[in-house]
Amino acid sequence: MGVIIKVGMADLKTCKGEDGVTTLGLGSCVGIAIRDPMTGVGGLAHIMLPDSTEIRNNTNRPKFADTGIEDLVSEIVRLGGSRNRLVAKIAGGAQMFAFGGKNDSICVGERNVLATKKKLNAMKIPILAEDTGKTYGRTVVFFPKTGDFHIRSVGKPEKIL
């Protein structure tokens, strides 16, 4: 059994071999797991906001879907993954509180998911599975070697994508 590396909010981590990456309590944020199935190299990004170009203060690259995914991919490639073989699984983007759409940041979960998909499509990385939206938080654990993406939520059985 390898070690499980924790990924914080607005953060990304990569690993290989038996190791896994995890992020706890995803709310409206999105967890993006990418791996190269051949070499078993992969990683997980925990993004908070959809678009770095919408915000002036955007130096924290893992915070945004667009720059976060770019950085995650380059990290995986640096660790020995092949750019062309990468596949993705995503989770999160929940709406934790039900308000009307007055404030943009309220439906940020949905926008995060859309931005994530758009970026992955643009980079031609197929999305194999997703568990997004709804109204509850998720904890995810990703094992790049097998591609197993475990999802835990309060009061629900664990899912494996």
């Binding site: 914080g8 909010m9 309590g25 709310g27 915070k63 934790m96 509180f97 940041s105 509850y136 938080g137």
Partner: protein
């Protein structure tokens, strides 16, 4: 001031926001004491500017199940506000509020499943506490501050906190966090998170004459 950045908040501004948090939390505690009709002590609130990564740890772990009550704030200042407390504290308060009618046993308070009645009671507690908090702020700054109806979420701390974190995320890489410990016969942890929008910070600071 248009470019206020949470990461480079000057000491003076930080102290002012801290003091506002202090006064708000003090008022909220008084309201809580009246509500449950017993003496409530409050520790000196801790005001912290936290990195996103540290958030979950402060409230006892990202996966800790918490009760969050979330408000949107409008009027002279715009933004939102969250009051978050442990499941234990919520069950304890509800039990007190309803004079023990629910008969929530001490042992199950940690993982008590809240029904419709309880949820409604928690929202009301949140409403009153937050109302008192905002009233203090409003009185001090002479600004009109109106909270929306409360929204309740019971979930992992990380997931609940991601909502205010995202709003702070637009401003910078830190979050302003006010921790208050209430205690009557037991210790109850409560946390306030205030998220004024960027222009509202300026308004608050201006109205207090520090800008």
């Amino acid at each position: 001031m248009k470019d206020l950045n949470m990461d480079q908040l000057s000491n003076q501004y930080f102290d002012v926001l801290k003091e506002l948090g202090n006064i708000g939390a003090g008022n909220a505690t008084t309201a809580l004491a009246q509500l449950i009709n017993c003496k409530v002590d409050m520790s000196v609130p801790q005001v912290k500017l936290l990195d996103f990564q540290e958030l979950g740890d402060v409230v006892g772990g990202d996966e800790q199940i918490m009760v969050g009550i979330y408000f949107q704030v409008s009027g002279d200042i715009e933004g939102s506000m969250m009051f978050i407390l442990s499941q234990y504290a919520a069950a304890h308060l509800v039990n007190k509020l309803m004079c023990g009618m629910l008969g929530i046993e001490e042992e199950v308070k940690d993982e008590y499943e809240f029904g419709e009645m309880e949820c409604s009671a928690i929202k009301e507690v949140g409403n009153i506490i937050t109302g008192a908090y905002l009233n203090a702020l409003s009185g001090l700054t002479n600004l009109k501050i109106v909270p929306s109806i409360p929204q309740l979420g019971i979930d992992m701390a990380g997931a609940l906190l991601s909502v205010p974190a995202v709003e702070f995320g637009i401003l910078g890489d830190k979050i302003l966090f006010i921790e208050t410990q209430f205690s009557d016969d037991v210790e109850l942890d409560g946390y306030f998170i205030m998220i004024p929008e960027m222009e509202s910070y300026a308004k608050i600071l201006e109205s207090l004459g520090v800008m």
